[in-house]
Symmetry: C2
Subunit: 175 residues, 2 copies
DNA sequence: TACGAGTGAGACGCTCGCGTCTCAAATCAG
DNA sequence: CTGATTTGAGACGCGAGCGTCTCACTCGTA
């Protein structure tokens, strides 16, 4: 049920509680029993998305093996995530919620920066690419992938492939 | 004045009319004299942004010269635009407004697709990159660039550079 | 059958932001 | 200086969405 709410909230970021309840096939009352307030609902779903993000990166073990392969694993995992959580990134958040999410993902983001720097030092990645830009790309291309699917411009699979290809092309250095 | 409203609306997509008025340094009454409703305000600013987008692409003459140089011009122009209109892309729109914007930019988007295909046929661009993905990238990396600047992760100039570099790296084919 | 937990339907009050209006102050043109 | 236009300040009604509450219904379980 939280899943269907999340899905509809992603498609319609400004959806009202009645709307979300209808989308989940439950009554408004039940929705309020599960989530004490709209803010709590949004916060909880975004927390879950952040956790999924953290887990996906951890599972990809960005610190292990060659930077090239590590990047591939990371991007593959996040590509799969994009379809699920991508458009939640558009949710307008209260300041403290946004801060909490940033806090929650800080270590993970740092591990991604580390991966980029590691690849740059090993000579696999272009040195002129700012790790911050890589994070920005990852975040917003996930959103973009989800949005492309929403608009019917891309299939999930195609979006995932292109996301990975873009990251690879941007980072990889070729002599 | 419309400019300061747009700027603040971009930073705070859910800003209220009083908030926007304060940000523009005018009274609520005056804001309502200028924009008959909040919806009209959002629509007008997004229209303006769409026009700027169309103009930027036209000015870059995507159909002229070598695809590589044409892409460079396009990306340079849009990179400059990103700082101004980027975060407006996050604005929740009424359906018919979104449709109108898509209509308004359809021809321009088509000219960008044409550019991509032209480059692919000439052998300059990778053939496995979907033109739709290029549009998606452009859109969301512009948003990302603006957001990176907002979060203090990137400078405007750096964002612009990286945006261009990413598009180039993704599209260019190297033997 | 009887009981209890969970659900749906709907009424209710409340807050908040929208949009309108009025009037006084300020600005500007002649 | 005078009249006209614009602006700001604030009151006001309105509607929408939130969150609470009650009550009847429906299950699963004993």
């Amino acid at each position: 049920m939280a899943a269907s709410v999340a899905r509809h909230l992603a498609l319609a970021p400004a959806a009202s509680m009645p709307e979300l309840a209808a989308a989940a096939g439950i009554s408004r009352a039940t929705l309020f029993r599960r989530f004490p307030s709209r803010a709590a609902l949004v916060a909880e779903l975004c927390q879950a998305a952040a956790e999924a993000f953290v887990r996906a990166v951890q599972d990809a073990a960005p610190d292990d093996g060659s930077p090239v392969q590590a990047l591939e694993r990371v991007v593959e995992g996040l590509g799969r995530l994009a379809a699920v959580v991508g458009l939640l990134g558009l949710q307008p958040l209260q300041e403290h919620v946004e801060a909490a999410l940033l806090e929650q993902t800080a270590a993970t983001e740092e591990s991604l920066r580390r991966l980029v720097r590691r690849g740059q030092e090993s000579g696999d990645f272009r040195v002129e690419v700012d790790p911050e830009w890589v994070l920005t790309m990852l975040t917003w291309l996930m959103v973009g992938a989800a949005d492309g699917v929403r608009l019917g411009r891309l299939t999930t699979a195609a979006a995932q492939t292109h996301l990975a290809a873009t990251l690879t092309a941007t980072l990889h250095r070729r002599p």
